[in-house]
């Protein structure tokens, strides 16, 4: 069941930027694109654990700051020649607030 949880205002994240949400099982990176779409994926690159929230956001992709792997924010899949993926979580914006699916986050913590 989807349980939408308010984690902050859309304006808390700069356009083409990210912030993290701390959970018991590590950080989730919440991204805001240039056209104000919001995506949530794990904040650790499967390659060497780089913080994806610190990457450059372009279109609906992010480039890991450590070794430049590129991930689709929509699917969490690594792009191009690299293979790998991070978990992605349902996120949406309602009345300027960012909502994450708390049930998915909780399952992540339990896993």
């Amino acid at each position: 069941m989807t349980l939408w949880m308010d984690i902050g205002a859309l304006t808390d994240i700069p356009q083409q930027g990210a912030r993290v949400v701390k959970t018991a099982a590590g950080c989730v990176a919440v991204f805001r694109t240039a056209d104000d779409q919001v995506f949530a994926i794990d904040d650790a690159c499967p390659h060497k654990g780089g913080p994806l929230s610190e990457g450059i956001v372009h279109g609906s992709s992010v480039t890991c700051p450590l070794h430049a792997w590129v991930f689709s924010l929509e699917t969490g899949m690594a792009q191009g020649a690299d293979t790998g993926a991070v978990n992605s979580y349902p996120a949406r914006v309602e009345a300027g607030r960012i909502l994450l699916d708390a049930s998915r986050l909780a399952r992540r913590a339990a896993a």
């Binding site: 902050g8 930027g17 912030r19 950080c27 372009h58 700051p65």
Partner: protein
């Protein structure tokens, strides 16, 4: 006996139904037409030309009184139907009941009104019927001000119409680009630019907060605080199906009146057609599917089998001078590919969206001549594999079996324009090539083709290839990144030539192939723009690599290193104490002396950065920019102050140089060294810029390296005084800032442009002074301590997680 047919609404759809019925079966029905507007059917989509004055109302009437009379259609105009009694099979209008055997609801749609304060003021209109149009025409006195809310198809047509009537028009649009349902951002941008060039003001991302005015409208207030004066406000933010009658009659209604394939509602005697219907969960706003519905409905009424199947529709904007076409589906999605053609100088943009072997969408701006051909390919689902390479050039190039792009260019007549900026035709390029211009640069310099915006470079090369055959080799200089075909050098040149002052403007004007660039071009563009337009461009933090964005070096574990500046490598006991205190307070795992004569605090957590910076600031220290493509350190030896061999005060000069240069952004990092004598203890001769002090002055050498490449600096010039040395070095740094490609260290750049050229620039007093002045202008903006800025109380939140769910999630 004739059946009684009642039609509610005289719009374009019902008009078409009446035509079909009266043509195919003139005697089948006794028809009564009700219309709330005091007139019969007219071509509503031609209201725009009426508004702009290009047509009159009379010219757009489709069915006049004589037409109805000739076909025995009884008309009740200016009188709304208020009730449908399904049991009695009657409709009520002005208290009079009219019986029906078959009923057609064609009530169309109602404009959406945003319920902001003031929406009921006099002077606020929608754009739906002739009354609205006439209200806008009445308000149109030259110099009068109009605000249109909504930058969709209808809103822009209203805006253009009022502008043609001499009004000053502002369009407020909620979304990021105009006509977002029909256009992608690139085409929306071109449209906006073209409308702005005609003097229209476009305000995207604008949310209306209130319409201001006492008795009638005076101004519009936006959420962002902007106020636009207005004598008339036109709301064109969308429409919704007019379903009130159907609702009251308890017909099945979703978003529109639900109909089956035969356009029949949930009551078999009641039919619906046009914008008020919902078929297969879909609503319809464009005229083509409505005409299809009308045809189906007429057949169904006559007992023939017919089924409505919505087909793809195409949109054209009816604004004189704005050639715009869109059809099909052009959203980005997995498995879809784009073919894009841009010629920004001519204002031409074409984008084809391909899925598998089919064309599924097309957006065109500026040159829409081939629109219908593309639309045909979309509608028919044609396999485009064989013509894919030349598809974007349109039907003219699909004749022969060889779908070779150069064949298309070869087929162009000599008079075909290749370079729109400079008006160079193919013949002229061929002529130049035959006269010996066998490289792109030569063609550029002799014909000016592709020398301005550069978008036609590919075409020019194709013309050269066709002319030279095997003798042609394409430009070997690689493109900046996958997002563009331009080289770094081209992009720098075009940014200056075109006065491009923002990343989106560069991407648009130079035809970027990606949305939002990539991690490789965005930092480069950000640098080029801030270097070229120091006072106008606003540094884009989100286009910077993490180290420059966070003003600290990210380490492999996601922690950061903090390096305070130590001017010329000189520190004090107080500074050392403050550094030691900070290391203790924030549990710094490692304190290390760097090669650049300063101290590195490694392993700092991101959330601790601002507090640590504030502590170091309080002790008088600023950021050492150990993370930047910018001035890093000036390494010095102790010089004449203490050293028995020292010839000049090398430490003092080093400090002065560091204080002059710190905070400047450069294409790649810049390290300096100042040695007090030729023994060179500061290792100045392997730095980007090195100074060796001698008795007679200062020997300045440049382009050293001690990294992946190791090389000794080369002598640039000798300065007599400290002041002269400083001016030369600042001028040289500015020369590098203005001319190098991003990420090239000075030695790589000098290898490209030549040391002699560099020397000539800084030797000439006037050129040197101008470079120095431009450097100082940039410093007046950028020589600030980021630590002080980013540790302010209002900046603190961004360094911490936006939410902490670790406790909740654990439960």
């Amino acid at each position: 006996m004739k059946q009684k047919l009642v039609v509610i609404g005289a719009g374009m759809a019902s008009g078409r139904v009446l035509e079909q019925l009266t043509e195919t079966a003139p005697d089948a029905f006794d028809i009564t037409l009700f219309n709330a507007e005091p007139r019969g059917n007219y071509n509503r989509i031609m209201l725009s030309p009426v508004l702009s004055g290009e047509k009159t109302y009379v010219e757009i009437i489709t069915h006049d009184d004589a037409w109805y009379a000739a076909r025995g259609v009884k008309t009740v105009l200016g009188q709304a139907v208020t009730k449908i009694d399904r049991a009695a099979k009657t409709v009520t209008s002005a208290g009079v009941e009219t019986p029906y055997d078959q009923l057609i609801i064609a009530t169309g749609s109602a404009p959406f009104i945003i319920p902001v304060p003031g929406h009921k003021l006099s002077g606020v209109v929608t754009y739906r019927d002739l009354e609205d149009t006439n209200a806008m025409i009445a308000a149109a006195k030259p110099g009068a001000k109009a605000v249109v809310i909504g930058g969709g198809l209808l809103g822009l047509e209203a805006a253009a119409g009022m502008q043609l009537r001499g009004m000053e028009v502002v369009v407020i649009h909620l979304m990021g680009h105009l006509m977002e349902r029909q256009l992608d951002p690139a085409a929306g941008y071109l449209l906006q630019k073209s409308l702005e060039q005609r003097g229209m003001k476009i305000h995207c991302k604008g949310a209306t907060k209130a319409i201001l005015g006492k008795d009638r409208v005076e101004a519009v207030l936006l959420e962002d605080g902007t106020v636009y004066d207005a004598d008339i406000v036109c709301m064109a933010v969308g429409i919704r199906p007019e379903v009130r009658l159907a609702n009251d009659a308890h017909l099945d209604v979703g978003r529109g009146i639900t109909v089956n394939d035969a356009m029949q509602t949930s009551d078999p005697a009641i039919w619906a057609v046009g914008e008020c219907v919902e078929h297969d969960k879909q609503l319809f706003g464009l005229v083509a599917p409505l005409y299809d519905q009308a045809k189906v409905l007429a057949q169904a009424l006559l007992g023939q089998a017919a089924a409505f199947r919505p087909v793809q529709t195409a949109t054209k904007l009816k604004v004189t001078g704005c050639d715009l076409f869109s059809a099909g589906d052009f959203a980005d999605a997995p498995g879809r590919e784009d073919i894009v053609f841009r010629d920004p100088a001519r204002g031409v943009y074409k984008r084809l969206v391909i899925e598998g072997d089919k064309l599924i969408g097309a957006v065109m701006y500026g040159d829409t001549a081939d629109g219908n051909w593309f639309f045909g390919l979309i509608k028919d689902g044609s396999d485009i594999t064989t013509m894919r390479e030349t598809l974007i050039f349109g039907p003219a190039y699909q004749g022969g079996a060889t779908a070779d792009p150069t064949a298309a260019v070869a087929a162009l007549p000599p008079s075909a324009e290749i370079c729109g900026c400079n008006g160079v035709c193919k013949g002229k390029i061929v002529e130049a090539v035959l006269a010996g211009a066998n490289t792109l640069d030569l063609v550029r310099s002799t014909t000016k083709a592709s020398a301005s915006c550069g978008t036609c470079t590919g075409l020019v090369e194709q013309v050269m290839a066709v002319t030279l055959g095997d003798g042609f080799t394409a430009n070997a200089n690689p493109a900046m990144c996958k997002c563009t075909d331009h080289t770094h050098e081209d992009v720098r040149r075009l940014i200056k030539a075109g006065s491009l002052k923002s990343i989106p403007a560069v991407m648009q004007e130079l035809g970027w192939k990606s949305v939002g660039g990539c991690a490789s071009c965005r930092p480069a563009l950000n640098y080029y723009l801030l270097a070229d337009w120091p006072t106008e461009y606003q540094d884009d933090r989100q286009s910077r690599f993490v180290n420059e964005r966070n003003h600290a070096n990210i380490q492999k574990d996601g922690t950061y290193s903090v390096v305070p500046r130590m001017w010329g490598g000189v520190t004090t006991p107080a500074e050392l104490r403050a550094i030691a205190d900070a290391a203790d307070k924030y549990d710094v795992p490692m304190v290390k002396v760097t090669g650049g004569q300063r101290i590195d605090l490694l392993g700092v957590k991101k959330a601790d950065l601002p507090a640590m910076w504030a502590d170091l600031n309080a002790a008088g220290m600023v950021s050492g920019h150990a993370y930047s493509k910018g001035l890093r350190t000036v390494k010095t030896c102790v010089g004449s102050e203490f050293c028995r061999f020292g010839t000049q005060d090398s430490t003092g000069l080093g400090i002065k140089l560091e204080k002059l240069l710190w905070g400047s952004w450069t294409p790649a990092k810049v390290k300096l060294g100042v040695s007090g004598c030729p023994r060179n203890c500061a290792e100045a001769t392997c730095k980007d810029i090195g100074v060796i002090c001698v008795d007679s002055g200062y020997e300045i050498s440049v382009a050293g390296a001690a990294g992946m490449d190791v090389r000794e600096t080369e002598f640039l010039i000798k300065a007599r005084t400290e002041a002269e040395a400083m001016e030369i070095i600042a001028a040289f740094v500015q020369l590098y800032r203005e001319n190098s490609r991003y990420l090239h260290r000075i030695y790589k750049w000098v290898a490209k442009v030549g040391l002699d050229w560099c020397r000539a620039q800084v030797e000439d007093p006037a050129t040197r002074r101008a470079l120095y002045d431009r450097f100082m202008l940039s410093q007046s903006v950028y020589q600030t301590d980021p630590w002080a800025e980013l540790s302010q109380p209002d900046q603190l939140a961004q360094w911490a997680p936006m939410a902490d769910l670790s406790l909740e999630a654990a439960e």
